[in-house]
Amino acid sequence: MRHDPERDAARFLGGAMSPDDRAAFSGHLLRCPDCWSEVEQARRGRLLAESVRTAAPPALRDRVRGLVEADRLDVDVDVDEPARHGRWRWLLPVGLPVAAAAAVALVVALGGSGTPEPPSLRQAVADYSAERLPGAQLPEQRAPDLTALRLQPVGAGGGSYAGLDVDGFAYRDPAGRRVVLYLSDNAFPEAPGAEQLSDEDGPWIVRRGDVTVLCARLPHALLVVGEDDRLVRSTAQALGVL
């Protein structure tokens, strides 16, 4: 066979030689500077390229799981414009609606004060209990970073509560505790029996059944909803509204 250093080195490094040819070429390498240089350079290039391999980010694994789940639920997922919507696709609803839980939450959410609960608040509590998001629209903003509290985003979606446009962001910590943030451009009405946490226009907090709701008006209209009262307060502090 004609001496072709590039071809032979490529076959040698690619494992494409028979054992006999490989043994013969190995011996030849020691005597042939051209072949030695071919192998040496290609080995160095391969090591360089391989050195930038990394593990997939954990967030990508979550995103993949969310995509499969969302597709299984037949949520509309746009694959044609990944760059524009990609950041959010994995955050489309991942929890199953549980109608029964929602119904229970609606009853609980009446608040027991005799004053009707604002529909937006009632809906937020019901959706929290049903592990349901306000809707399947892409949120207007990114999920706030709550990793300092070890809260990881598990779902997000936008919708409307009694005429209020609301984005919901669901989080879960390693212990399985859930917190959901509801953000809106317009203020949430105050719940009957709410406790003011500062001045009149400041945040308030109220308990509805097993669920704590903390509402801030400034700098954003925000509801923090969760079963763990301390975690709800910590979340509000982390967001700078308490």
């Binding site: 490529a10 071919e38 290039g45 360089l48 050195s51 990394t54 990508l60 694959v79």
Partner: protein, 171 residues
């Protein structure tokens, strides 16, 4: 073979797909979008007919999606933003000179890969970044194995040369 089987198979190959996508795109975010697009396309194909070689099949979908994307943009990725590489790269593997790559060099490696001719660039992305075998790569790109070996060999030589020249220039 249901969606759970798909998810198991896809996550099993996720690291390789991510490395492949990272090699085929400009930014970490683009890579994640490409993997996500691959996931959805593969999921829908899987439901119709699960493949025999899932690894090669996922990579084929990823490569075709990337090709569509860079055809749309009328340019191959050459830009390197590379912040994640400054944090995440594997640097325990010493090169032949016995020195570990610096993070900055990792960014240069990616830049150099991005500047290779398309066939070499894809062969490097598949074999050296994605870890696919020559046989799998040949199947994925639809070229003979010998051709793939020649492409990856030439690409590796260019990488070694470019980066050696840069090191010389830095001294």
């Amino acid at each position: 073979m249901d969606d759970g089987d798909f998810l198991d198979a896809f996550t099993e190959h996720l690291d390789r797909l991510h490395n492949l996508a990272r090699g085929l795109t400009v930014s970490p975010q683009d890579a994640e979008d490409l993997v996500s697009e691959t996931c959805l396309l593969a999921l829908r194909g899987w439901r119709r007919n699960p493949p025999d070689d899932a690894a090669a099949w996922f990579a084929t979908i990823c490569l075709n999606a990337a090709r569509s994307s860079y055809r749309r943009r009328a340019a191959r990725p050459v830009e390197v933003t590379g912040e994640d590489w400054l944090l995440d790269r594997v640097d325990e593997r010493a090169d032949t000179a016995g020195s570990a790559l610096s993070s900055i060099e990792a960014g240069r490696v990616r830049e150099a890969v991005g500047q290779l001719p398309v066939p070499q660039f894809e062969a490097i992305a598949l074999m050296d970044l994605g870890g696919y075998t020559a046989a799998q790569t040949a199947k994925i790109v639809g070229a003979p194995r010998g051709t793939v070996l020649a492409r990856v060999h030439r690409g590796r030589k260019v990488l070694a040369r470019v980066l050696a020249d840069e090191r010389e220039g830095d001294r």
